[in-house]
Each structure stands twice: as C-alpha cells, then as structure tokens.
Amino acid sequence: MGYPHKSHPRETPILSKHFGDPDARTLSGWRQRGGYRALEQALGTSPADIVNVVKESGLRGRGGAGFPTGMKWSFMKPGDGKPHYLCCNADESEPGTFKDREIMRWTPHALIEGCAIGAHAIGAETAYIYIRGEFTEPIRVMEEAVRDAYRDGILGKNAMGSGKRVDVHVHRGAGAYICGEETALMNSLEGRRGNPRIKPPFPAVAGLFGQPTTINNVETLTAVPHILTNGAAWYKAMSLSSPKSTGSKLFSVCGNIRKPGNYEITMGFPFKEFLYDLCGGPLPGRKFKAIIPGGSSVPIQTVEEAEATLMDYEGFVAQGTMLGSGGVIVFDDSQCMVKQIARLARFYAHESCAQCTQCREGTAWTTRILERIEHGEGTMEDLDTLLEIGDNMTGKTICVLSDSCATPVASGIKKWRNEFEAHIKQKRCPMRTAVAA
C-alpha cells in the first residue's frame, strides 16, 4: 500500500499534498500541517459570508455534474426552522474514478473539516459521509478520524468552542453504484432500497428525512477549507484557461498507460502533455487508441480529440466529451473496442436499479446485442438497433444511469464503426487470431 508516484513537478498538489504521508492521517499531524484553522475561522463567520466566498471562487462540483457549489449552498434557506442536512457523497463507483478513496485514506481530517464547514454554511448541524461498502480501509480511517475529532472537541455540541453543534457521521453503503446518485444516496441512508427519487422536489427543499439537504462530493468539500484560508481570488487565479473552470482538480488515470495513479493539476492543463509527460505515455511498443476522460459515463474520445483537449469543464465539451468525475480510462491498440464497450454496457446492466423500464430493459438489450456482435453473431441492423435503443434510453428516466450507458455506446459506434463492421463481416473478433477464435 502506498501512493503510486511522487508528485510530478507540473502537478499542483493542494488536495493531494499529503498523500502517502502517514503522519497527515493523525489529528496532531493534521493540526501541524495547518488543519482545522479554516474551520475555526468559518465557525466565527456567518454562513452567508462563507457561501459568498465559495460562490466567488468558482468552485464547481467534482462528483460529475460540475454544478457551482456556492450556488447549490445558497438554495438552503437559513432560519426556516427545519433541520438541515449535509450528505458527503463518498460512494465513488464510477469506473475509472478512485480519487475520493485517496483523499479519505490519506487526509481524513481534511474531509471532516470540509464537511463541518459545509454544514455550518448551509445551516446544518449534521453531516453524513456515505462511503461505499467496499472501501473498508477508507471507512476505518474515516471512523477513527471522526472519533478523534469528537474527542478533541472539534465536533460535537460545542464545536471548537464556538457554541455551535456540528456532528459528522460515517455511513457505510452495501454495494450499489446507483447509490452515488444523490437521491438514491438519501434513500439508502434512510434505510431504503437505493432507488433514485423523482425531482422535484429537489433535495434543497425536501431531501434526507424529508428535510432541506445538500449533497456534495468528497473532493468538492475537501477544496473548501483551502478556499477559505487562501481566498476566492487565489482559487480563481489558478485556472490556466476558462474563468468558468477554476482551481485544481484530481484526475485518476487507469488502463493501458505507463504510470496510472492520481494527478492533481490546475484547470486548463493540456491533456496531451498530461497523458505523455505526467502519466508516461503508452506502454512500451503500444499506441493509445481511445480515451474516456471523465469516468465511464462520458463519450469516448479518439486520440486526436484527446490530444487537442484542454482539461477543464469547457475544454472537454469542446472536444466532444465531458470532464465528469475526472476518471481517465486509457485503451491502447491491443484492445478490441467492441469488447470494451460491451463490457461497459454490462456494468450498467448490472447496476441498473431496475426502476425505469427504459433503463432496466435498455441496458440489458444493449449488453446482449454488443456481446452478440463481439462473438461474431451480429448483423448490420444490430448497429442501428443499438443506436435506436440508445435514443430511447436518453433523457427519459428518473436518473441518468440509463443515459450513461447509451453515451459510450453511441460514441463508440460512431468513432470505431469499422471495428464493429469487421466483427459482423468476419463473424469473429478480427483482433483474435483465427486459431484462438
């Protein structure tokens, strides 16, 4: 166990500065590194002022949708006489994404501090950190850190001597990708099946336990203490590109690449330099073939598109995809795109909560047809059928899991159509030798 690489000189380690340093995990170690000063300051500041700083900083949600965090917080009406809740989304199950895991493993107090500040800013006394059930080590580390924070009076009915109550609890999930969707997460926390809820009402009106609720990703909340300490202008100035994408961002990199791992860069970093200089480029003797830059739910990029991309919310959109969760999945020229896309579809079929017909049936049909093509039993009509099913799966369901399955399939067929057709014409995978097939 350990952090896979030393920080590259071109990274901007803010959230990841202490990854790999076991001392930073402890409360005393965290305090020595400046921890909990931002919380102390925040507890003496009015919620409205904190929301304004976060708004001003341009921070956007790191969980996938990129919604402006300060604006989300401003939907929580102070003084409405209702209990408010903060949910920290640590379900991290989007294939290709493994950054929140590192934040929790190495800097648990950074997340607690972010949660406590967030709770205060939205008028909540309680924050729940919902961690996917498989993250046994992060759960253990977070629970220990929460215990220490209570023991030290950082959390509890008189948080840091402020007279304000701040409770933070760790809640363990039990295996379900869909529980990362914010309304499914709330259902799961309440002790229900993790089915997403119909919106409206939005969580800020009626969320957890029917009360006003804000849901934020781990990385989003962990950025907040830095913004309060260093100021909104500092955060904004970090961007290399668009004023709409500010600050630093963790990208998880995996698949066929020399140096997989987590990298923290400032928004607007050139994707080409990222892939070749920071991550070491393709494996020896190989070439990149396809790249999914934002977790498995976003459109797949060709190498040309990826190499022309600036890494921020707008930059990825300009090259036909999305920043998403920042999970970069790399496929090289040894991979069959049909097989890979079929396997992704299988993931969504397995994870569909089965509530909406379009998703339940669509993800299953898509998987069966793709696997049929992969095994050399497909027809040309299958390609049209896939796109048609995809159309019916997009924008028609309670949550976007259905869309997330259709998206990589549609982009895959569009960009690697020749590979699909070769499977159909040759009645086998052309990348396997005739003997093996």
Binding site: F98, A174, F209, S252, C254, H350, R360
Partner: protein, 185 residues
C-alpha cells in the same frame, strides 16, 4: 438482467454445498445482545429515524454470522419497527449482503473494463483454479472459498484490486494468487 432482480448478470453468490438457509428456518441465536446491542444503540442516536440504522444493523449481523439469515432479518425488523418483508426487500437490493452462507474466505475480483484491459479476467480464472471453486459464485467443497467477479472496486489505477472478506488487496496478478491464498487459514 439487473442485479437488483433474480438472475443478475454475474453469478450470485450462493453456497450449493450448504444446507443452512434452506428448508426449515434454523434456530436463530440473537445477534443484538451485549456489545452488538450497545453498538446498535449508539448508531441509533445518530439518526432521527430508526429505519436509518437498517444498513448498519445488517452489517453488524453479517459480521457476526458471516451472512444475513432470515432470523437476523426478523430480529432487526423487530428492533427497528419494520416488517421482515421490508428488511428482506432492502437486503436483496444491495450486492454485499449475503443471503446464504458463503466460503470462509469470500473473494471478490474486479473485472470492469479498466481492470479488464489490465488482465483482470486471468486473475479471476487463477482464483477459480487455485481455490478449487471451479465456477464463479460456487463455494469450494471444503467450504473455504467463494470467488465472485464484481464491478469496479474504485481502485482502477491499482489493477487488479480484489477483496478477501474485509481485506482490500491491490495490483493482483495471476502469478500472485497462490502466494495470496497461502496467507489464508
């Protein structure tokens, strides 16, 4: 085809060699006594509803019994003022609760695409071979092992990650499998 329905895409984990959990409801030894009861009471204090303690209570039961029996579901239902049918409905939604006894070492191998392109399928095959399980979801004749494939474990940069009970092991290759199994009792 969804895992949330019967007959999901992956073989569900069930122990074909064990009779427990089938036929007559076995005698249930209460889970929530002593320390477990104290733990549950502490957990209940964190939420405004009793129902919110359901997932944590199921974890306590599984930690105690190795799986979640009908008896445990009924006991939890009583404690949280729910019906046993409701509890079962929740249990069946989540993939990590075992509805049948499983091998003493429950092995989960991630085979989703990012791990798949790094050779995860061969890792799963190596576990099936060296444990004697032969097939996914089937417990080995000695009751020691159950191997299943799972979706993304959230550690894709450390392909191939696996879990053995609560232990998370990164960067597993087929070559490491005998050594890993050798450390298990």
């Amino acid at each position: 085809m969804s895992a949330r329905e019967e007959g999901g895409l992956h073989a569900p984990a069930h122990a074909s060699h064990s009779s427990a959990g089938h036929g007559h409801p076995a005698e249930h030894t209460p889970v929530f006594t002593g320390d477990n009861r104290k733990k549950l009471d502490e957990i209940l204090s964190r939420y405004p509803s009793k129902m919110a303690a359901l997932l944590p209570a199921l974890w306590i039961a599984q930690d105690e019994q190795g799986w979640v029996s009908e008896g445990a579901m009924a006991e939890i239902a009583g404690l949280l003022e729910l019906t046993p049918a409701y509890v079962k409905g929740v249990v069946t939604f989540y993939t990590m609760y075992h509805q049948h006894p499983v091998g003493r070492h429950f092995i989960q191998v991630c085979t989703t695409s990012p791990c798949g392109v790094c050779g995860a399928e061969d890792v799963a095959k190596a576990f099936l071979k060296h444990t004697g399980c032969g097939e996914l979801g089937v417990t080995s004749p000695d009751g020691k092992y159950t191997v299943i494939e799972v979706e993304c474990l959230g550690a894709c940069g450390f392909a191939t990650p696996i879990m053995i009970n609560d232990d998370f092991i990164e960067s597993v290759t087929p070559e490491r499998v005998p050594e890993i199994l050798g450390t298990l009792k």
